[in-house]
Amino acid sequence: MDIAPDADLEKFRAEVAEFLDTAPTPEIREAGRRTTSVFGPFDQVMAWHRILHARGWSAPDWPVEHGGPGWSVEQRYVFADEYQKRGLPPLLPNGLRMIGPLLMELGTPEQQARYLPGILSGEDYWTQGYSEPGAGSDLASLSTMAVPDGDDYVLNGSKIWTTYAHHANRMFMLVRTSREGKKQQGITFLLLDRMDLPGLEVRPIIGLDGAPEQCEVFFTDVRVPQADRVGAENDGWSVAKQLLKHERGGSAHSPMLRRRLEVARAAAAETPSGFGGTLADDPVFQRDLGELEAEVASYEHFEKLAISGHPIARDPAYPSLNKVMSSELTQRISVLMTRVVGLDGLPDQREALLVGSDAEPLGGDLALIAMPYYLNSRATTIYAGTNEVQRDLIARTLRS
């Protein structure tokens, strides 16, 4: 075992800190404070993505040949740590953590050359088109059809839970190309290089938190070149499974959870408990905060073990363990936040939450975000494979 501190690392930390202290615009900082989802305010997050890219730091986990900074595991943790300490908004995951790594692995050289630069730089935003109204957890029963026609596919059907599709200029998606055999067969993985295609229509869906984060996308005779297929026709299921691996693991999520907890802790120091003194001084709050501190710590340890090459990362249950732990911690932290703000969480402040809004916020920063964050995070145990599906998968690895 080895966890010795390292002087070079401290130099690196100073360099990161200096940049993160100076590079983000006030709007980007504000966007960070007003992030109530995995998906922060779109314009500011993308602007920040481009600033980070200019410094070469937009994709800490990417290999050097594709534009990654070539950092060690420790450096990546230091970066995530300093990033989160400043409450900066996370970059959107779809490009950097999902379709990007997938294209590196399974894309053609042409696809890589065409698409990776825009993902790295933040020119492009990709939405994910997997779920359909009839196919949620049971993804394999999707029915949006792609029929070959000349060099193209012709698409008909609809997709739902396409995050920020109304902002997206690109999309990766699963379509049905065959009704033969098992329903997992006959699925194909496609790239859409634009969203303003004839016959493609996007309808935003308002969420519980009042934000149009998710969308429905309708396809009526939409033409997509077959060259934008990833993997073989009818082999999209295994392509998607490969992608899930990237989605469910491998990055440093714990610094963000820790940051959320610090926000709650700091707000508690300025909140009366109702029993005399502040919430921070209240033993009940301390115990509950302490429990989440301990849980976040264990999750951080789990992440560090995995990232540093401990065998846990090769456990077939690893991606599911990671998803369940991180999503349920997110929810528990969000509940603590709503407890801290109490009554002040009740005003619906969806207007004031917008970056640059004229609306006067009621209460402090936490009062503004606690309830929408809580409501939004109810989705973390639903998307990317419900936690029920994840537990099924974990249990399967325990069967002898």
Partner: protein
């Protein structure tokens, strides 16, 4: 012992169900929430017609002399239908104070539905307890002047009749204040009600009652019973809708309710609902018999908050993605439960009152 509604109560309740089913579909309710006023005078008129605004008041002010059981019977229905009209604010809270102090004029106008009342009492997280109120009343040349801030006053900026609690000398007093006197910050709550923060800056007030802490506690206790009834109604809606969804929504070729974890989650929702509703009915019976003790109210408020949250979160999880949208009642029902939990002392506040050492006399 009897914890059932009478035939009359059941009839009244059924009439409210019918009226709301007709005039208060979820879509209609959503347009009302999005409207400028945030609640519907037409629906209000319908409630007046049904006698609901007059329900709990004495006959000499035009009331029907109904009991807390009557109000609970209809409040469950209000909760399931996510009512946003000012029933709690005007009838239960402000009306409750005015009835207790015997202000006939205001009461008549409130019972008839022509005036809307509001009670400005809570001051935010620090003051779930009346003894912690810091708004101050000072004697002035022509009466009293009130200074302080009240938070999340239900319909606080819509009211014609505004009742305000404030510290007067060593005690807590209740005042009538001109509804236009405070600086109001209006907003909609997450569960679709209109409310306001009110700042009083030497606002002139008419004394309703000095040393009114016991009186106010009584009103708040009964209001908590009614709010709890709304929450239990919402829980019932969540359970019913989720059970239906689980029976009809198919994934992997079978209804999702046939997955044992979904089935067991439904069972847990039912257990929570039954526990909360049992406590609601028992506590209502105690209130009716004039035997409501502080710890009974604490049990009710805490159980509704805790169990309601669990039911709502389970409903969303079972619905999956669609449960996360503004387009289904599920999330709104959950937000109603959360709002009830946050008002008048949250779960932890009440649990700690229950767990605190008791004087031997209070044991039993």
């Amino acid at each position: 012992m009897d914890f059932t509604f009478t035939e009359e109560q059941t009839l009244l309740r059924d009439s409210v169900v019918r009226a709301l089913q007709r005039d208060y579909s979820f879509e209609a309710r959503q347009s009302i929430v999005r409207s400028g006023t945030g609640w519907s005078p037409d629906v209000w008129a319908r409630l007046v017609e049904l006698g609901l605004t007059a329900l709990p008041f004495p006959e000499d002010v035009g009331g029907l002399g109904g009991s807390v059981v009557d109000v609970v019977a209809v409040a469950e229905v209000f909760g399931e239908h996510l009512l946003v009209e000012p029933y709690d604010a005007s009838i239960v809270l402000a009306g409750g104070v005015l009835a207790a102090v015997g202000r006939k004029d205001e009461l008549e106008r409130i019972a008839s539905g022509e005036a809307i009342g509001a009670l400005a009492h809570e001051e935010g997280r620090g003051t779930p307890d009346p003894s912690l109120v810091t708004t101050k009343a000072e004697r002035s040349a022509d009466g009293y002047a009130l200074t302080g801030e009240k938070r999340l006053v239900l319909h606080g900026a819509d009211a014609d009749v505004l009742v305000v609690s404030a510290r007067l000398d060593a005690g807590l007093a209740l005042f009538l204040v001109d509804a236009s006197a405070p600086v109001a910050t209006r907003f909609t709550t997450v569960d679709g009600r209109r409310a306001a923060h009110l700042r009083f800056d030497g606002a002139p007030g008419t004394l309703l009652a000095a040393d009114a802490e016991p009186l106010l506690r009584g009103v708040l206790d009964r209001a908590i019973v009614v709010l709890a009834a709304e929450a239990v109604g919402a829980m019932g809606g969540l359970l019913r809708r989720t059970a239906e969804y689980a029976s009809t929504r198919e994934q992997f070729g079978v209804p999702i309710g046939s997955f044992q974890t979904v089935a067991h989650r439904l069972a847990d929702m039912k257990i929570a609902y039954v526990a909360a509703r049992s406590t609601l009915l028992h506590t209502t019976a105690l209130a009716e018999a004039g035997r409501l003790a502080p710890q009974d109210v604490a049990v009710l408020k805490a159980q509704v908050g805790r169990l309601g949250r669990r039911v709502g979160e389970s409903a969303i999880q079972t619905h999956g993605g669609v449960g996360m949208t503004d387009e289904l009642p599920i999330g709104h029902l959950h937000k109603r439960v959360l709002a009830v939990d946050a008002m008048f002392g949250g779960t932890d506040h009440h649990l700690r009152r229950l767990g605190a050492p008791r004087s031997p006399a209070a044991t039993g």
